[in-house]
Amino acid sequence: MEKLHQSGLVFDGGLGSLLQARGLPPGVLPEVWNITHPEVLIAIHREYLTAGADVVTCNTFGANPFKFRREADTPSGAEGPEDAYTLRQVVTSAVENARKAVSEAGQGFVALDLGPTGKLLEPMGDLSFEDCVAAYAEVIRFGADAGADLILIETMSDLYELKAAVLAAKENCDLPVMATVAFDASGKLLTGGTPRSVVALLEGLRVDALGLNCGLGPDDMAAVARELIAYASVPVIVQPNAGLPRSEEGKTVYDLGAEAYTAQMQQIIAMGARGLGGCCGTTPAHIRALSDSLPTGALRPGDADLHERRQEAPQEPDAASAREATLVTSFADAVEIGDAPVIIGERINPTGKKRFRQAVEEADMEYILNVGLKQQEQGAHILDVNVGVPGIDEPEMLTRVVKELQSVTELPLQLDTSDPEALAQAMRVYNGKPLVNSVNGKQESMDAVFPLVAKYGGVVVCLCLDESGIPETADGRIAIAKKIIEEAARYGIQKKDLLVDALCMTVSTDERNAMVTLETVRRTREELGVKTILGVSNISFGLPVREVINAAFYTLAMENGLNAAIINPGSADMMRAYHAFRALKGHDPHLAEYIAGIPALQDAVRPPGAERKGSGEPGDAGLHGQSREASQKPEEPVPQGTDEASPLRYAILRGLKDSAVGAAKEALLQKEALAIIDEEMMPALDEVGKGFEKGTLFLPQLMMSAEAAKAAFAVIREHLQKQEGAAKSKGTIVLATVQGDIHDIGKNIVKVLLENYNYRVIDLGKDVPPEAVVEAVVREEAPLAGLSALMTTTVPSMEKTIRLLRERAPQVRVMVGGAVMTQEYADAIGADFYAKDAMGAVTCAEGVFAGGY
């Protein structure tokens, strides 16, 4: 590690192609040769060391418990040569071979090499984050035991898997950890990550070095390397391919020879990379040429020298400021909290919101996700996530909401909880570098939060309060901020990863409150050099027409240097203040965003007060009532005179969501809720269903009608709840896409329709094991279960599920559907019903619950 910092390191080059050249047959896992052909591995390592490499990489890229059996497993004997060896044997021999080469060469370090697992992590695949950590942990323990000098995680393209690997390394050994990722030609990771989001994540996890490898040749890598070096505070490693691969007589060859490769590498050396090596297609000859090209000391610049190099490099982002950037990330790009004000959406929070609290209590993810996505549309850059409701398991709920949100939005999240256990678990599963809300000046708080930030990385909101409360003066708040900053430094948490919250108390109790907050914001920036955040709307608590005060205060705070504000992006006044400020302060080039946002600024965004009398919170209807297109162009109006008897029926038939909500509200003024459902909504739904079956109306229209009906139902349900408690559903149906199948759009369509017909649907999702289906059916005492499978290969899994259901829940009826299903298939695997499409599933349910079947 010291050598990397002080003098830089030369890494080795490609391994796989060298093994193939020495006779590794296609289809055999290269790691098997660690045991069967150790002399080949030792020879290759030694060639690299003689060529000038300081670090050799063990042949463990693909060594993981998914490819090699564990100690306890007995060989099955049928799976080929890899089955003959355990993971421990493969890893241990790999390290031993490298150690042997190092001792023969008399110098060098041994890197335990970790690549992607080849498995898919949630939410795309079926591997859980913790299982992924555990898989890497095994390899790391074996490698460390065998005597590796460092851990090199490389060719990663999924930041979540990368996080799992780094955590596993940190938790299972004391060796230095280095991690490099594979960018494509567009400068992005396959999952959308960018150089700065990689740096933010990896430095948050405190790797010792980071960088890039594979994918591209040196020239094509230069731009990404430059950006990485600009943002990184730790040494950067660059290991490109020998140019681009091409196919020659069935063999992959790379087009850069040793000299050309070395020539291209010079620009990367000049940028200040501290670790150099090669990846696919590079050979000892490449490494020798590279190593020889380094005049003594070339990779050995002192810090001043390094800085100079960075200054000289053309078109480089301002290195000093890039390294000081406050970055929060998701799996995709980073959000920088800096001069341009950042909006943090505050709506995922049960405080004072009855409907939201109910959603948390019922684990109604759809509602919660919609609150998040709505704010994204309205312009939030980051979403605050608070699910603190008394009586729930907050760690479980927070991690679940975080995972679900990250499966549908690329916005970074602000984890908002006062429960340290919930925070710890959420930070662990979070994909990226989160905002953490919050720590304060109490010793207890700092003792709980800072170790988590030191471990997982994050930017922390620091509240200016401590054991003696909230100081009344700016002096007092600055003093607490200082104390927090000093304590953070003891954990190695830098200023750039802190956001001071000056706190704002309502001006309704003391008219000086706003000025104290604003002074604290300004002085935090000027005296402490730390960025600031504020929950703006507290300022007007207890006052009428709060939006007026909030918006003016927001503008004042931004003018005093506020970097991030926690606000409701659905508030027109706040968004007006935001856009106007950006326009006036030169943050909006050519005022493009201001002009593009005009419709929203004028009228489409209603102030919350106008949505509903009273609480000002958007109810279910308000939330779902405004569809995405509707926010840009209004729906066609319900024409006068057409179907005057029931505008609601018309709206459902035509799939007009906003109109359906309005019509339902109108109808409630004149009719009983149940009568509306029976006389207007159900006939409309039936008509749509018949049209679909006849082929006069198609899936998109069926879905639009279903959505319109759903929005109208929400209005009616809310009304019923006010009157007589919850509306009764017709019964419970469990739905699942069977194990092994990851396509569940068909099942989701069925779910929407069944809900329309007033069934309570327990949706288990996709890739659901038979046991989980049985468990849900038994727990819910569901009379009907629906299973879907898209692939012929997963039909056996469906059959297995049915068999288990028959055993443990004999009363349940089972309907099946999916692309490959037929009546014959359904009969053969013992299902009760075959639903040929979504309407078929509804017919089937209606039959079962009416007792017809």
């Binding site: 898919l120 396959l190 998109p700 990851i742 396509h743």
Partner: protein, 204 residues
Amino acid sequence: MAMDLNRVNRNEILHYLGMHGAAPDERTAALIEECLSELNAKVAPKHVFRTFPLHVSLPEEDEAPLLDLGCFTVRSRDLARNLKGCHEVLLFAATIGEGADFLIRRYEKTQMSRAVILQAAAAAMIEAYCNEINDAWKEEYAAKGCALHPRYSCGYGDFALEYQKEFMRVLEMEKRLGIRLTDGLLMVPTKSVTAVIGIAGEEM
């Protein structure tokens, strides 16, 4: 990164939506265009390919012919029929990336009507992308006096899905395209295609 949306076959989208031959209503048609634009901002079409010499061993009685694709061997009657007269094969993998799956997943949670259209539009997009690269190869090989056979994927006929693993290995699909396989041999990102294309005609 984006695709030329004119190349995406609208009829194919309608077909995937179950509207066989029926004209879409105005709103659906507009939604389809909206979805295509939204997808286009998120997709990242990419492909890899390699060519190999092809050797076919004549079958024993009752056996499917054995095809040596230069990187793995396959026993398949249907593929042999498709590759009849070819001396070389081109193996390729293509994807429009995870962005499409992400959008579909998002709208499944919020607006199902849009999710079904996105699903159909994305399927037509990967198809259009495959056609685009296929057309370029056709031209390239025509110049050399060769003809390309229609592409053929594993999972068709008796060309078992199991061979997806060989495509993964030979084309380094994980490293170069970010494609991974589920235990059920499905590709993720889901809007991905692998196929064999036979090359017939003049030997180069």
